[in-house]
Assembly symmetry: D2
Homo-oligomer: 312 residues x 4
């Protein structure tokens, strides 16, 4: 039974999309296909209802329905983390209880925009832990570009030390390489237990981050097989091979990493790859222009060429 994650979690926890039909309703068939696709790619975990999962655009009922469907389909083969961030602790607790009962491995919590000082940040995560209870493993999301909350390394370390149920960091501060160094070096010590560090920020710095000790990636890149293979090669000691493969995909990684628009691009790629029946994004949300579609077609063709060249 691998439906838990722990302080040694590694590999790729893919950030899952939430599939919709053209009319905007939940597409549960595509959900099943997407889960199968991710598992076939070799992911070691899955994170649903994150920012890319359009969580704030779902009703509470839809969130629970979607989470249950994913958990049923995964059936314990890999741990599933559920995003539960929000402005109130009561709704967070309710959603957490519901998904944990349905088999989730833990939850992910990003800070609210109002947490502007170290003291507010520490207090908030203490409240979150107390509210959710000590049995719920938590992944803390550090993503200032989107949350508008900046954690110092010192503050993050304090939060991890003081709240032992927070066992994973979704690292996506930017620039953040030196923060990652310190988070790696100053945990796993007498004072703070080891934590799992998975990197996000669209994986734009994945090779550099692995070289600095990241345990893997947690992001929604629409070619999860690349993330899986890059981490695999790196862990097998093939640091250059890992970076060579990554670099072949980098033009696409870079193209996906367009804040806001990236969600539409990822859904479109998953649609083109046959995973999602529709690339539909709920409103208000980004819409790709004809020129964006043309960019994507071109970049996908160039990617095929690069991969072919790597194989020879």
């Amino acid at each position: 039974m691998t439906n838990r994650f722990d302080r040694h979690a590694q590999g790729v926890y893919i950030i899952a999309a939430t599939p919709f039909a053209e009319d905007g309703s939940l597409d549960l068939e595509s959900t099943d296909r997407m889960v199968d696709f991710y598992l076939d790619c070799g992911v070691t975990g899955m994170t649903i209802l994150g920012i890319m999962g359009e969580a704030p655009k779902l009703s509470g009922e839809e969130s629970a329905q979607f989470a249950t469907r994913v958990l049923d389909r995964v059936a314990g083969r890999v741990p599933v983390i559920v995003g539960v961030s929000g402005a109130g602790l009561d709704p967070m607790k309710a959603l957490t209880d519901r998904v944990m009962a349905a088999g989730a491995a833990g939850v992910m919590v990003a800070p609210m925009p109002s947490l502007q000082t170290d003291a507010q940040q520490k207090k908030y995560f203490a409240q979150v832990c107390q509210t959710l209870g000590p049995d719920v493993p938590i992944c803390l999301q550090d993503y200032p570009m989107t949350t508008k909350v900046n954690f110092s390394t010192e503050t993050l370390l304090d939060i991890f030390r003081d709240n032992p149920q927070i066992i994973m960091l979704k690292h996506e501060d930017w620039p953040g390489l030196n923060k990652l160094d310190r988070m790696r070096a100053e945990t796993g010590s007498d004072q703070i237990d080891r934590i799992s560090i998975l990197v996000g920020n669209a994986a734009l710095f994945l090779p550099q981050e692995l070289q600095r000790g990241a345990d893997g990636a947690m992001t929604g890149f629409a070619y999860p097989e690349m993330l899986v293979e890059v981490v695999r090669r790196h862990q097998a000691g093939d640091v250059d091979g890992a970076e060579d493969l990554f670099d072949a995909y980098l033009p696409m990684v870079r193209y996906e990493q367009q804040l806001g628009l990236g969600l539409a691009i990822r859904k479109e790629i998953l649609h083109r790859r046959g995973v999602l029946a529709s690339p539909k994004v709920r409103a208000p949300g980004p819409v790709m222009s004809a020129a964006d579609h043309a960019d994507l077609t071109r970049l996908m063709a160039r990617l095929d060429q690069k991969l072919a060249a790597l194989d020879t």
Copy 2:
């Protein structure tokens, strides 16, 4: 039947608190008592589930339960506006349908923080109107200090002109007196119909705003009788008398207008006045210190003295 509001709405639309018991559950008895209190104060309308109403800390079910309770108690005596702001249009539509069916007069919508340009703002409110349907009257909330969204006067005028179902402005830009002037002067013309302008921002500039043509106030000051009487005097031509009364309350208005903390102060005053059984605020939320309580005791006593002096 006065359960609608229109372009001529005036007086005081009180921003209602959401009463909780000490254990954090909805307190429906205090809800009834609060509604009665507001009506006894002479308000001409009520706005629930706004920022002060702790809306993001309620589940969907609780929001509907609370709204229904208020609407039942009000029983059509004054129009009730329901805050439905949020990140997704689907949940906004669902809540709107539910409360309109239950007798709400309309809804209030504040912009999302991501709406940073005039073009984004216009597009969003067009989407909102299309989603909610033309039969739902809308109050637009312009409150940059909290929403982090700044509308130019030009953009606001465009939005009102292009979306005739937006008929009321909750004006709480700060500094905002000259914006108010222009919103008054440039609506009610051939091109843009008259709109109702009610002022918020804790009513800190209420006399000045009435003098510049505001139709009244929409804020949650814990002494609604002052707001009602100030507007009444002003409309009766007693401009000085209105401002004299306001100035007596100004030290308290100023004390309440502490961003974030103000919610706790207002609930505490309503509690001390016998309206709310408990001043409970849901987490994460502000908590008054002992010194804050002492401030409040002192300011309430001084207010009594000032009012006594005015009466003589």
Copy 3:
């Protein structure tokens, strides 16, 4: 010789305007008159080239010329603090050296907007102290509404403890009363020496802040005599009398506290009171509308009436 300030500084350090002629040039005659006016009001210090002093709109040469003129006119009767905030430490050092040589008592430093974490804030103030040298007394300005930098109380305490030349806090966080409590309670101890705490934020909470232990005010209210007398009464034990006087001025304090526009209002009042030859504000800057002028006329008349009533 009182041209130094220390950890016991109290009373009113008035934030000085920078007078311009109608053509935008420095008005040194009005500068002299303004200095005399402030001294006649009984201020215990003066702060120039702050945010209200339009410092970023002056050339380096003009800043030095204006500072020298003020220092010459003050002639050591009260300490003068000079605002030297900026994006680079080299220009800060150059201006500091120049004004300290000319007789300034010390400098005021606000954080740059990029200092978003506690670690960055601590590092920056350490760098500032090292750059300016240990002989320069520093007032730290904590004004999040304008600087966009939020200090936790803990971080402020660390900065004061680690940098003994920072001896004064310009407290204008909002809401900030409980922060003030802690800054008062946790300095003047074995670990951190006493600091002088003067309050800003337009003095909107001056009585409450004095009651919580503030040493006085540092703000640019255009009736400095009120600030002086309120602090005097409070220190003499007449807490109610202090607050009564303050409350009479509160409608004007509130009107001046309009972010951005406040500068124009203050200059206009100083002009009407005969202090400044012109209310000129350099571009880009706020301009009062006709309605703003009418507001001011009305509020000044009402203030006179209130003061007359207090005297009887």
Copy 4:
């Protein structure tokens, strides 16, 4: 004489560093060498005293001294644009007059952070144009990630139409590809003259931007020869060849594009390439860690390999 730029400016306007000696003083010898290096790379223009040029850390005197040195060394071979952004129009005017007299081709102006609405943005650029006078060609910098100012396409178009001396756009909004499309399509018409569009944002999307009609790049990438050759190939019709070359450099482009830290990385590369005697950045500023240096060494070696592979 090519020291002017016009609405058809194209190619690469390199963003120049400001070289310092280890002790922090201006390094004018390195300045000469840097100018020669840029010209040898084939740039068609140069932009100095921008954000990367550490302008706010220079005194007015140093700015003028550095600008004069660059202008003298360039000697009219390519146009030089000077960044003059700042909080006050008077200092902006003074610096503009000085550098235009010394032979600058024009100036670059970024918006102040306070310009949060379309109306404020339009008013500000009208003021800037009026202040600087109609003979000064202006490049408008649209870089929200750093300036915190978001222009809608509509607003930008209005600004260009209403202020004919603004003839160039430094396009670095992100995501910004569709904005670029519209700026290209809706200028060069009856209503708005053609404008030159050069792209920044570290050139992360340069091929896509050229494909959408950008005229070239204005950024500070430490391998200007890549920018020059990519633009040349693209303009010669070799769209694939342009993108192939770009992709080889993309891992480095991506590594440099670390907000804040990027400046230190660029100076370090220019130092390693023999252009700058020292990679010194003035305080407060970024400092590379040992791990950053190791990253850079690795990425530079990998770049050499990729370029060698491209040549074969």
